[in-house]
Symmetry: C2
């Protein structure tokens, strides 16, 4: 590339602009002029979307794309129940948390038992607009209650775009500096290590890094992880975080479960990803899928952990917890529960995984298939077993050319990332698998 740019998996490379259709070139030039250089696009040929419905997206020419990637809309694009709830509440009232309103309380009441453990017994919810804000708030509280500032995350974690959360988001690349008080531990790579050893390995790393943080005068405020390790390459071995949580608590830190990716039934097993690990986190953060596209996010927290922060300062987020946000979130929660989406996620996720396993013997480049529910990673490798980012890139872009949308992830950019709306059907799974088979045959 002529211009070195910060790393992003599956990003459009502006140097290949000239090869695109004229209308796309013009749209990208206009976009660069108006939005500037910090924005990225997906795919070698970026997609211009103009309409969505269920698991489908449509471009301006009316071409249909199967969306096997977007977790922002767990109920599918343009879900009528969410639209109706948002519209009705917009017609009634949209204001903030300094007035007493029922919607926010009803939602918190409905959600708190879902966390189990100490949060269900005596916990609170607080609301923000984005997952980044939720993680930022969680760490402000963790630092306040512990009086320390050190944070441990996984090697290729992503936790947000704020100044604080970007400081513990190594997946933003080498040009985005980590905090001096950030330490990283390996993700539970079940492909390269014995799954039975992963939890112990991570716990030992936590103890060592907590010691380092103490040695530097920072101490351990919190450990944070996404329970499906999305940007680390998608790892789904259950229970690995249990010894980690024990180590974190033994070191006096808080365990923050970042459920932006793994929450809201995504795993097809439990409502929350951390519950696959048998742990009782101090703070749970959530975002992306919570409002089916409406900006709503938040934290759930053990009451004792919040007490001092709540006394010494206040938290006000103008839009966080507004009536419309809560109406959207309530509609999403009710739909996930009433339509038993956790079961269909398990079923369709198993169909995709089984289909991938059936394909694997024919394609040596498929090194590993892993995940939970509708969060699936397919690791592409070279004959020597090393990561093959080029193959992953060809497959992601080959699928995009065939109008099936997925992406890639992992520190080596070589893991196919399949993460469709929760309402992905068996027919959608068949289309994904048959298109993938064609692309694999043509590509690797």
């Amino acid at each position: 590339m002529s211009t070195p740019r910060g790393k992003m998996v599956n990003a459009f490379n502006p140097d290949s602009l000239a090869g695109l259709p004229a209308a796309t070139q013009e749209a990208i030039r206009r976009r660069d002029r108006l939005l500037g250089p910090a924005y990225r696009l997906f795919y070698e040929e970026p997609v211009q979307v103009s309409r969505g419905l269920g698991t489908k997206l449509y471009d301006r020419e009316g071409n249909e794309y199967l969306d096997a990637y977007n977790n922002v809309v767990p109920l599918g694009h343009c879900h009528p129940r969410v639209i109706e709830a948002v519209t009705r509440q917009m017609q009634t009232l949209c204001t903030h948390t300094r007035y007493i309103q029922d919607g926010i309380l009803d939602y918190a009441e409905a959600m708190l038992p879902s966390f189990g453990g100490r949060i269900a017994a005596a916990g609170h919810m607080m609301f923000t607009c984005t997952g980044s804000e939720a993680n930022d708030l969680a760490m402000r509280i963790a630092r306040h209650v512990t009086g320390r500032r050190g944070i441990i995350c996984t090697a290729e974690a992503y936790h947000g775009n704020s100044d604080l959360t970007a400081s513990f988001s190594p997946s933003l690349g080498n040009r985005s500096p980590l905090g001096t008080w950030v330490r990283r531990i390996p993700a539970p790579d079940s492909y390269r290590h014995d799954p039975a050893t992963l939890g112990r390995m991570m716990a030992a790393a936590v103890r060592a890094e907590a010691q380092e943080l103490r040695r530097h005068g920072d101490g351990l405020a919190a450990f944070i992880a996404d329970a499906l390790f999305s940007s680390d390459g998608i790892f789904a071995t259950p229970e690995v975080l249990r010894p980690v949580a024990e180590a974190v608590h033994a070191e006096g830190g808080l365990f923050v479960a970042d459920e932006v990716q793994s929450g809201f039934a995504r795993s097809g097993e439990r409502f929350w990803g951390f519950q696959r690990h048998g742990i009782d986190p101090d703070i749970v953060t959530m975002g992306k899928p919570m409002g089916n596209g409406y900006p709503v996010a938040g934290i759930a927290i053990v009451a004792d952990v919040l007490e001092g922060f709540g006394r010494d300062t206040r938290y006000f987020n103008t839009f966080g917890g507004n009536g419309v946000a809560m109406a959207a979130a309530q509609a999403v929660l009710d739909t996930i529960r009433e339509e038993a989406l956790i079961e269909s996620v398990a079923r369709v996720g198993a169909e995709i995984t089984a289909g991938l396993r059936a394909l694997a013997p024919r394609f040596e480049a498929i090194g590993d298939i892993r995940g939970a529910g509708l969060y699936i990673g397919v690791e592409m490798i070279r004959p020597d077993g090393s990561p093959d980012a080029a193959a992953a890139g060809r497959i992601v872009n080959g699928l995009r050319a065939a109008r099936v949308l997925i992406s890639a992830t992992g520190p080596d950019s070589n893991v196919l990332k399949i993460r469709p709306p929760l309402v992905f059907s068996s027919a959608d799974a068949d289309r994904l698998l048959s298109t993938l088979e064609t692309v694999l045959a043509a590509t690797v």
Copy 2:
């Protein structure tokens, strides 16, 4: 108070719970249990709102309140054009900036010329969900481009709830620590100082504090101010920020104009508050009124200032700039322009200010009346001229009892804060003034 809590002007004091109506007590207890101690409520008797329309709010019993405070809904509560735009776009598509979409580009194209100067000539817009995120991003960029980390703000500024922005939000109170790299300068207090000296005084303070920041190895990355100095007590002398901007640039820092409060025609003079000061900021941040309640915010930035950040890292905000957010923002912008709200803000603002000035001679406790357009401050004082927070509190709560909603602000909590939706009418202004007259007569 039995429990010391972080300062907040016009906050409900939980110690007076027992004196409230039974239903309000129960709602507050439920709220404390579910949302915890970091949330605050307005007023001695918090308001339970259940419906809004235009400049009116309604409680569960159907009582009507005149809303002379909410700037989150500049077009008034439940504005049909915004609801229609949001609903239509929700039914079409709600997805993010890694696909090419027209709405975000059309909005940026419509907005960029409004900033004038270098941003209009060659600038970009970026989108977030909240003003806090906008200020956080602005400072990340400012630090990147300057290679320094020092930030100067005004004495009682508020710029956000993220870890970084809370660090330069002294109005959060003494229990919310400022960054070690934060310095404060006085706000332009036109009541206590000769207005002609304010700009020079602030510029001199900037130079002195920039020198201090250099001396501590931090250097000056940016100065940030709200052009109407809302939390500092509302000060509206024009042009005072011009020498400040010159000093900031001479010291090698960026000037960040925080337009969350003063932007979008609020002053009744110019679309942006900074334009009343004749300056050309490097970054403009905006939020609250931008989507009439829909969570949308953003920054506008000089192209050169963004270049390095955009190359070295990326910025992605899942909900920021989504199609629905842009539809809401476009509807707000179009309505402000087509309905010439800037003119009606000027007219109704002048009516309120004139009415207040007519009242003032009868009430010695009114020390000063100031502001611009529909952002008006009334400073309450004791006979010796010192700030009278108790009087301000009695008036705010007296008005609330009479079902007119305003609040208070300032380092001494003694400035009435009148900041209604932009669509506030002459009849609304009359009701505000006549109710205030009654409350003043009974109170001070």
